[in-house]
Symmetry: D2
Subunit: 371 residues, 4 copies
């Protein structure tokens, strides 16, 4: 299969984004439609001044007078900031935007799917289901190298391994941090798989750029826009995890930040959202896979380990992800889960992982994909 | 494959439940453990009176004194009402229950999976993935019989079709109601598939008992306990849909109501929960499938149509459900979706459904099941 | 202050609703606007057939052609069922409804606030904050009468007291049921306050109609449409609790069911929604108070006891409710909370309740209301 | 009223946290209790190895054998990482932690409320309700200085004003950024109120430290642990907004990061959580106020503007916050809301704000506070 390189960059602003990122955003691609809904008791005077404002702002108003309600459809190519102004006017009830606000991450800009090339060589996207595996955190040389070797042997094509770990409590293990950089390098060299590692801070990006193959943005940092812009200025692929309360649209807008900064190599990762259900750590939003595939050209992978939070759930969720059309999986494996410093309850043992890989083959085949 | 008939009934109270349902519940099976967490500033006096109360209520206290906190583990076989009393005492911070509160729906009562026999003969549960299909609402003789025939031809083993429809607005179509009873009968006879139909009212149960094969309790009525008890007194299987804000535990407790009333033929149905995500009608909680299979002996099916709310999502969600281990599917099919009176946007055409059934085969096979 | 009696009934269909409730709904009041959003790749042919369908259904299409997207605004007076059909057509991306679907519960039908007259005489709605209090469940003659007297003494103007209790588990106390009817009667006569009691089944409505003053529909039955229609055919006020996953719009639509059936005496009750937060039993949606007051003419009360689920939260939430503009409160009081059979942890003692009533006065005054 | 200075710092590790933050965390303060719940079918052998592991890790096991379930209460002073290991062992069903994991933000460390001193001089916490007001974003010299003066005149004691704005879309206005620093300085000098401004990046902290009085951490960055640590190393108060999907416990743990880094001047801010309700921008979790006041010594303020998202909701929510016991409010005011570049629909005009301040007085008084 041929690896396609898409030319999203031609759509990006030519000048360096600089500090005023949004000011240079490609407004010519942002023509859109909104519907202004008027209040029932809006007076003729108020109506006239709304119409005047719409025109003053450079939009074209299309009033539609119903028996009970009047609405004004508005078309224009100005920034949404301009439209928000209208929502504040007396007589306006609310504004319903019609266009999806993402552009560069959307299908309308790029119809064919993005395929991310990785050293190996391998890739994410396309007809193969790319499985990444490894421990949540790099804990020691032995733990990491042994787990990495076993993951590769079982069929993983890229390797997890973070040295900076965001933990809810400052009292919990935060990762090996700077001490772990050499280990990532060594694992890459001896095992020969591309490595994905989490960055939590712009400084981490600089530190890790020479070493890693994929930057991971964790769920808690999905809207850390400084960090998104920072990885967006590198040339490394970015694995972007969905925030726990992020809508699909929010996720695509976060990807948009990375692409606008100049990097179109983004992998979207569904990893569960926060709901009222407590039987699982998070609620895997399996529908996000077909929804994202429909809206965006970016590859979509699923992390069944963080979503479920319990080892026994990982196989069922991994199979469901492949069946739903995911382009890959991100699975926690630890050589001895009962000794893991982070997220042990959800990590598979290497044997369990190898078994899962065998079981996944039939599902990949049914989905007309290879593993 | 042999159909097992389980003997849950031997665990039920021998007497007729009557009006005072819970009074006769099998308390001897409800021994459980709770942990009482004391406040940091609980005095010795308060502590003593809590211990005294625990003993007075017939429980055995096990105090555990930590450096910062004291907790009292409590074991007993009284009803949870008794334990709630303790939560009100001065000095008690909160109570953490340890035992799952469901019994008859749980694995501990019945290790082997329940298999529901249906006329045909066919069954739900066991090694086959049982697919039910049909329109959301019965609209007319032609619409129903034609859709039913096409669903059967494509491989459905039971038939959807409701004549009472719960609709959010009283201004929307509410179903054919009493006028539709004969149509259900006719469809059953001419097409030869068992029929599942929704009941919303105890009166509907009496009306439909002679006609239908499976009673459906809709999501909005999952905690309509009068209705649960009513269908629990029939001998027909019950398809119980999860409420939009019901936890997995709530769903099992609702099943418990039906079983306590005397009917152990319950099929659990995941159909999406309500979350902040608006890209889908509901969020399909795919994890609920393995969670329910682990906790309960009851069969678990998935309704991808209501969960997604958009036709394009149905195939991906159906495949994911089979991959996650669901015992069946419930799919909306309409001979002409664009003319459907209810939920047209999520109904498949008969051709789409037949295509989906063909595609599902590979996933069922990978899950070591037949379709 | 004068009690206004509003004339909503003149808007209701003249004929008896009968079984086919919605068929007789006042369609002439339902003219509304929707926006059909087309897919980006919709062909001219598809576009033409969508326009033709809009016209065939009796709507007027208003196409608005943007640079990237085309939308069609549609005006008409048909039922929403008709509009749903359009969503199924090839080329249609989605439909955005613009009009609120509730009519009789909405401000556009009735601008002045509804005031519910109760025996006493007293009322809910208007300038007074009406406080209802009492135990969650009637447990015994002594418990109920003593609690009732103490609630009245502290300033409650109506009395809680249910004999049918919906409980998540069938093994929990379900209320005194039929045995409690006489007690409700006795409490009404000896204490002299109107009584609100929960009904869970159409049969309960008939049983309790001669005895009680306000029917309560619990959160779990908010979309039990048979029950809503049943209480809608009585002449007693209905206290309608918001379901745990019901939007404000769903709540108003449930009220609409009651009003359409002929009963416009509906009190809306916010009692907390289900979210991911576990520190409270539910999350009190305090914003629902001003939102409902803006959309509807119906009185809005708040139940701080079920929302918080912990006694210590009740005063803060009750004060917040009054400050936010609630027309009343529904507070659990038990003469001895530590002995309550149901929801003891959230019940106030009579002393606590009397203290809260004293503290509430200042907040009611700041809200320009009396207590 | 005397301003208390608490001595939380004495509890902090003496050495510089450095890169390995958590390694130096005060473990001696973290003794806690967990309950290990065994699976029903755990064998004696498995049970023995779990007990052995508990002891090997330095904890004391307290087995409690029930009829149906066995649990082991565990007491110890090790980090939670150690306890997580147990959850991975064969035979363990799950682990229930009993102790709240936050320490330095909790009441058990510091019983009296924290009061944050600000230049002015003024303060947040204590008997006054501190109202901060101003525009969401600093847009221009005129806009900011005029709005600031009007806010002060109406009674605001601190001033909002951000030059870095996190926006969901990279195409939206991102703030004046570096260009706005001088304006903040000028506003502080000419208006004479302390200024709170958002930081999104460790670099912003360095840039703004000389200029601002309070650092704001926005909801999207609540778990940006690098940023929390960065502001934790300054001596400026930090206004920490709750994340959209953060539990109360998560919020306290984020505060813990700041305190562990050396800064105990943290103001918690409830600003709405994400739920299924769409009538409001977010759902204001009013209960969080009394819950946080009970668990923590830190002051709690409420942002009714972002919570509601509509101007008409701000007064009701602000009053509710004061009634529920909030220590302050954060209100968006714009001299001309209809021209605001960000969040105009939720900003009050200066006149509306002055009116609200007058109306709030009565509620503050009822809450026994001044404004």
């Amino acid at each position: 299969m041929e690896i396609l390189r898409r030319q999203v960059r031609c759509l990006l602003p030519q000048e360096e984004p600089g500090g005023h990122l949004a000011k240079n955003a490609p407004n010519r691609h942002r023509r859109r439609i909104v519907v202004i809904i008027l209040q029932s008791d809006t007076t003729k005077l108020q109506y006239n001044s709304i119409i005047a404002k719409v025109e003053e702002l450079g939009f074209t108003p299309h009033p539609i007078v119903g028996v009970e309600k009047t609405v004004i459809a508005v078309i224009g190519d100005k920034t949404p900031d301009k439209i928000e102004i209208l929502a504040s006017m007396v007589g306006v009830d609310r504004i319903v935007p019609i266009m999806e606000p993402f552009k560069l991450a959307g299908k309308e800009v790029m119809a064919e799917p993005t395929i991310i090339e990785l050293p190996g060589p391998t890739y994410i996207g396309g007809e193969r289901v790319a499985v990444g595996a490894g421990p949540c955190a790099v804990e020691s040389r032995e733990q990491y190298l042994e787990t990495a070797r076993l993951c590769k042997a079982a069929g993983a094509v890229f390797l997890r391994g973070s040295i900076f770990k965001p933990r809810t409590s400052p009292h919990d293990f935060q990762g090996l941090r700077e001490d772990g950089v050499d280990l990532l390098q060594e694992a890459h060299e001896t095992v020969g798989l591309p490595i994905v590692t989490e960055v939590m801070d712009p400084e981490h990006v600089e530190l890790l750029d020479p070493v890693v193959d994929i930057f991971q943005i964790g769920a808690r940092n999905m809207q850390n826009f400084s960090l998104l812009t920072k990885v967006g200025r590198t040339s490394k692929p970015v694995l972007l995890k969905r925030g726990m309360s992020a809508t699909v649209e929010d996720l695509l807008m976060a990807a948009e930040y990375i692409i606008v900064a100049g990097n179109d190599q983004v992998v979207l990762c569904e990893r569960g959202i926060r709901t009222f259900e407590t039987a699982t750590r998070n609620t895997l939003d399996i529908s996000a896979v077909p929804v994202l595939k429909r809206l965006s050209h970016l590859p979509v992978i699923v992390d069944p380990s963080h979503a479920g939070g319990h080892r026994y759930l990982v196989p069922a969720l991994a199979k469901a992800a492949v069946a739903a059309g995911a382009d890959g999986l991100l699975i926690e494996v630890h050589r001895r889960p009962e000794e893991a410093l982070v997220d042990g309850p959800q990590a598979l043992s290497p044997d369990d992982f190898a078994q899962l890989m065998r079981e996944l083959k039939g599902f990949a085949q049914a989905a007309e994909r290879s593993l």
